[in-house]
């Protein structure tokens, strides 16, 4: 049984001008001990999916359809107080460390202790010792529990956030753009840490990024999102070797490879659509080089294609 199963998740934001269709009909599964990468450009609904899973969406956002089945239970109808028990203990999240994900006016140790004591009945001293060993686990000097976030470097902040996310031994860890805005060396260290933690603790993980190469470092599976739709979904090898959706092909074409031949990088023409009034049917059709009449009329369904565990929403296949 998968740890997490999304089934047709649709989350919209209400605005004065109408519903912003940030995530529509998103379905995927995360097995135990497996990492899924959620990839797409800025504003494609990746973070909306993450916030929907924890149900910490900003006011005005609604989960309008779909199921979020975690540990055999649908989270969508749960009340806030029931959700609070699942947050962190069941599913925890790591936000971007470069931003203010740690509260700047509280000590790092106290913030980790807060997370521990919220879900477990332990003394302050014990919780602080756990916080110290968590920091050690992620490679931060344990004595730094008494520091404030601004006394940490960007990489250390990201590590501290990961340590905090592990505070209540969650089953599923969501990492929202970990390592983004860090320099490449620190980024590589953070990714290595995430990979080793996943192996050591048997964590299930969802890693959100706009960078396919980052996801490839850690994840076994990838889901590609475009303008709120899931367009391609499959194992990392399948998608790298045989990208099927024109958008995925465009994404891969926009990245330089270290190995292989020198080639000109290509970009996808056009701009991401306005999610208030997205293009009908396949949302990629205005930018797609292979556009057909049917693409403008009917939304393609995510269907098995190619070899192995590989799904794509495109009429080409």
């Amino acid at each position: 049984m998968p740890v997490l199963q999304l089934d047709g998740l649709t989350t919209n934001y209400r605005t004065v001008r109408g519903w912003v269709k940030a995530a529509e009909d998103v379905s995927f599964e995360v097995e135990k001990g497996e990492a899924l990468g959620l990839v797409g450009e800025s504003g494609c609904g990746k973070t909306t999916v993450a916030l929907s899973i924890l149900k910490i969406l900003p006011s005005g956002a609604r989960i309008r359809h779909g199921k979020i089945i975690f540990d055999g239970r649908d989270l969508v109808p749960l009340s806030d107080s029931e959700m609070r028990k699942i947050r962190w203990k069941g599913i925890s999240i790591v936000f971007q460390g470069a931003m203010n994900a740690l509260n700047p006016v509280f000590k790092v140790g106290d913030q980790i202790v807060e997370a521990i004591r919220l879900h477990e009945d332990v003394s302050k001293g014990d919780a602080m010792r756990r916080a110290e060993s968590l920091l050690e686990l992620v490679g931060v000097e344990p004595s730094r529990v008494n520091n404030y976030p601004h006394e940490f470097s960007g990489g250390m902040r990201q590590r501290a956030l990961i340590a905090m996310a592990l505070a209540s031994n969650p089953q599923l860890l969501i990492a929202d753009e970990p390592g983004t805005a860090l320099d490449v060396i620190v980024q590589a260290q953070v990714l290595k840490l995430m990979r080793s933690l996943k192996e050591k603790l048997g964590l299930s993980m969802i890693m959100i990024s706009h960078d396919l190469s980052i996801v490839a470092e850690v994840c076994e599976k990838v889901a590609i999102m475009y303008a709120g739709h899931l367009v391609e979904y499959g194992s990392i090898e399948a998608i790298f070797k045989e990208p099927l959706h024109p958008y995925t092909q465009g994404l891969l074409g926009a990245f330089p490879g270290i190995k292989g031949e020198r080639r000109k990088l290509t970009s996808i023409p056009g701009q991401p659509p306005d999610l208030l009034a997205p293009p009908a049917a396949c949302r990629f059709h205005p930018r797609c080089p292979y556009v057909m009449d049917i693409c403008k009329k009917e939304k393609p369904l995510l269907e098995k294609a190619g070899s192995g565990d590989h799904y794509v929403a495109c009429y080409l296949y």
Binding site: K89, M99, A101, P104, F106
Partner: protein, 339 residues
């Protein structure tokens, strides 16, 4: 250390400015010539004494029934005397009562009256403003939000004297729920009730002026809290807090408010001066025998010693408020350190 030095410099500057204001005030020469030339007033020794007392002349010799030989003081003599008097809190005697200014300020109960009024109004306004601001930010876009913002804008823009008069008209005249003015009822001079009775009556007298000042003051605080809280709530740490499983209350009042409170502290310190100004008007409208009402009367009387003392003390209060807010900053925000 640098901060203390800055504060001292600021006090020196304020004293200098206050001195210049009173030097430039019209009427000084007129009062001298009035004193010296008016045939009806005073015997010569009195005039000579006053000329010396008010530091118009260094030496005075009486040369005739209405003629004096005066060695005028220079501006530096007057300034140094003024400076020393101010920093030693030697404010001289009030022209109205001929009693020391400090006596009129403290022993008459004016200081306590003003502190009570301002203290109650500020505390209530800060509490209500912050609380409503937090709730408005949390429920942004709701009816509660737009309602409280509109209401605070209205009370914030209404002049205090008008609001005060309106309250007197409604609550004192029509409904007769509260007295229209004063600090304590006149009959207390004859017979004072027991402590509980005293307290209740005092609260009754305090209610309308405190309400007026609170309504004037809470709005700005609400709007600022709402703005800074909205920003804090959109920061990632608020999301982290929610994702941790913290109840919304803890996210709002612990995680977000501590971050949002810095501008609030500054605002409270900065608006202190405005609050004292509001107190002058409110105290006058409600006949509240405090420092503001006293200053208002002193202006009418040209009671220079009282005015000088009050100007100086108001400035000192504002400087002190800013100094304290700076210290609070250091406590609230670990990123700020003072040497």
């Amino acid at each position: 250390m640098k901060r203390v030095l800055n504060t001292v410099l600021l006090i020196v500057f304020v004293i200098t400015l206050n001195f210049i204001i009173f030097e430039l005030m019209p009427g000084t020469q007129a009062s001298i010539s009035n004193l010296v030339q008016n045939p009806r007033v005073f015997d010569p020794t009195q005039v000579a004494r006053l000329l010396k007392l008010y530091n118009f002349c260094k030496e005075v010799t009486i040369t005739g029934p209405h003629s004096y030989n005066c060695v005028p003081t220079t501006i530096w003599d007057r300034f140094s005397a003024y400076f020393v008097n101010m920093i030693t809190f030697n404010f001289g005697d009030s022209f109205q009562t001929n009693k020391p200014v400090l006596h009129d300020m403290i022993q008459t109960g004016r200081l306590v009256n003003t502190l009570t009024l301002l203290g109650v109004a500020t505390t209530v306004a800060l509490l209500i403003g912050t609380l409503l601001g937090v709730v408005a930010a949390a429920k942004r876009g709701s009816i509660f939000d737009s309602g409280s913002v509109t209401l605070s804008l209205i009370t914030f823009s209404l002049p205090t004297f008008w609001m005060g008069l309106l309250f007197i008209m409604i609550f004192a005249n029509r409904l007769q729920l509260f007295p229209s003015g004063g600090v304590t009822p006149a009959y207390w001079a004859i017979k004072t009730p027991d402590l509980l009775g005293q307290f209740l009556t005092r609260v009754q007298y305090l209610f309308l002026p405190a309400l007026t000042l609170t309504l004037f003051f809470y709005g700005g605080n609400l709007l600022l809290t709402r703005a800074t809280m909205t920003e804090a709530l959109s920061e990632d740490y608020s999301n982290t807090g929610r994702a941790k499983g913290l109840p919304e209350r803890t996210v709002l009042f612990k995680h977000a408010l501590k971050n949002a409170s810095l501008p609030l502290v500054t605002n409270a310190a900065l608006s202190f001066g405005g609050l004292l100004g509001g107190a002058i008007i409110t105290e006058t409208v409600f006949n509240w025998d405090g420092l503001g009402f006293w200053l208002f009367n002193a202006i009418g009387w040209k009671d220079y010693p009282v005015m000088q003392a009050m100007f100086f003390i108001i400035a000192l209060c504002v400087i002190a408020a800013n100094f304290i807010s700076d210290i609070f900053y250091g406590i609230l925000d670990p990123r700020i350190k003072y040497e």
